[in-house]
Every structure is written in structure tokens, then in C-alpha cells.
């Protein structure tokens, strides 16, 4: 039981690093993909947060990004191994097009996460650890403190620039 909890926490850290790296690589904090993402960014900034971090959080809300890719890839690996993860990547790609997102952060994140999750299943992790881990990872960004999360993302974005 304790082992499973530690696996979930480790999976949360791995998922967090994976999706934040891919999202920042694909410049999600730069501009809002749709007008709604910019509106969310403005509200987060008005609440004391940073605009660049808020823009990335708005983009995460408005279209499946690398975090959604990681979650669905983990679900895919749990259901059907690597083919399941790649099927999830295809569904994220379709989801991006439905949501008027011209980017490839979600699809790239899903493909990368498929292989990362599969590799960890070979060393004792379960794919379910990554499903719960990714939900914890998104909670830390979107669900605890928008002010602190957006400032942290803005700091990482400045490093990228």
C-alpha cells in the first residue's frame, strides 16, 4: 500500500516535468490560442498571478495540451499497451483540431508519454500510477493556487526565452 502511494507520487513528479517541459517547448505561455485563453490569463493576472503563466493555464483549459496527452496516453497504455497510447495520441490530435488549436503540444506529449509510461511499467510501476499521478500534477497547476502556479510557470518561461 505504501509502495503504491510512493509510486503514484513519483509518477506525479515525472508527469509534471514531462508536460510542463513539452508545453513550454511548444511556447504555450506566449499567446492565447483562442480569445478565451487570453481572457482566463487576464483574470489570473488580475488575481495577482503572472500573465505568461496564466496564458499557459488558459491554453490548457481551452485545448488538449501535453498534460491531457499524458493522461490519455497513460489511460491508453493501461488499456492496451503502446498501441493504446498511440491511439490516445491520435484522439488528442483530433481533439486539438476540434478545439481550433493549430499546435502539436498535445500530440507530441501523448506520444512521448506513451513511451515514458510504458518504460516505467517495465520497472515495477503500474499505468494506473500515472493516471492518478497526472491528475495530481494537473491539480498542482490548475487547482491549488493560480497565483503561485502562474508565477512559477512564468519563471520557467523566462528561462526558455
Amino acid at each position: 500500500m505504501l509502495g503504491e502511494i510512493l509510486h503514484i507520487l513519483a509518477a506525479a513528479i515525472i508527469s509534471w516535468i514531462l508536460f510542463v517541459t513539452v508545453d513550454i517547448f511548444f511556447k504555450l505561455p506566449e499567446t492565447g490560442g483562442v480569445s478565451g485563453a487570453s481572457a482566463i490569463a487576464r483574470d489570473i493576472e488580475a488575481g495577482g498571478g503572472a500573465l505568461a503563466g496564466g496564458t499557459m493555464m488558459g491554453n490548457i483549459v481551452c485545448s488538449p495540451d501535453a498534460s491531457a496527452g499524458t493522461l490519455l496516453a497513460a489511460c491508453g497504455v493501461y488499456v492496451a499497451g503502446i498501441p493504446g497510447g498511440l491511439a490516445a495520441a491520435l484522439m488528442v490530435f483530433i481533439g486539438n483540431r476540434i478545439c481550433h488549436d493549430p499546435g502539436y503540444a498535445g500530440t507530441t506529449g501523448a506520444v512521448l508519454a506513451t513511451f515514458v509510461v510504458y518504460a516505467f511499467t517495465l520497472v515495477g510501476f503500474a499505468a494506473t500510477d500515472f493516471i492518478a499521478g497526472m491528475v495530481i500534477a494537473i491539480l498542482t497547476i490548475q487547482g491549488l493556487s493560480h497565483t503561485h502556479a502562474s508565477r512559477l510557470l512564468a519563471r520557467l518561461w523566462r528561462v526558455r526565452q
Partner: protein, 79 residues
């Protein structure tokens, strides 16, 4: 089994935060966490290959709804 409880607890927490938050722009990220948790819980609960399709369909659909609410909140299409 613990994974399911973790995901369910986060879903309830996110739902409460989304209800309490008054500002629409800051409410949507909490709803986003709820969508993640529900999509994860779907796959953990349904032991069937098509649960992946159900989770992806739910997730993309709810994301599109958030997108539509946020864009309407931002002022909608300018004519």
C-alpha cells in the same frame, strides 16, 4: 485501487473549488482539473478496451465546452 480513490478525491475537491470560485475566468481551471479526474476515473472504473475512447470523447467534449464558455466570456466573435 488507491489510484481510483486519489482521482475521486481530487474530483470532489476540484468540484467544490469550482463552485466556490465566483470569477468565471478563474473558475474554468478548477473545472479543467475536474475533467482530468473524471476522464481518469472512467478508465479506472470501466474494465473494457473502449473505456479509452469514452475517456477521450468525454475529455475532448468537456474541453471544447470550456473553450466555448471562455471564448463567449471573452466577448465572443466580433462582427
Amino acid at each position: 485501487m488507491i489510484a481510483l480513490y486519489v482521482v475521486a478525491a481530487i474530483a470532489v475537491f476540484a468540484a467544490i473549488r469550482a463552485i466556490i470560485e465566483k470569477n468565471t475566468g478563474r473558475k474554468l481551471p478548477y473545472a479543467n482539473v475536474l475533467n482530468f479526474a473524471v476522464a481518469g476515473a472512467l478508465v479506472l472504473l470501466l474494465d473494457h478496451p473502449l473505456s479509452l475512447v469514452a475517456a477521450a470523447a468525454y475529455f475532448v467534449g468537456s474541453t471544447l465546452e470550456s473553450n466555448a464558455i471562455a471564448s463567449t466570456y471573452a466577448g465572443g466573435v466580433k462582427r
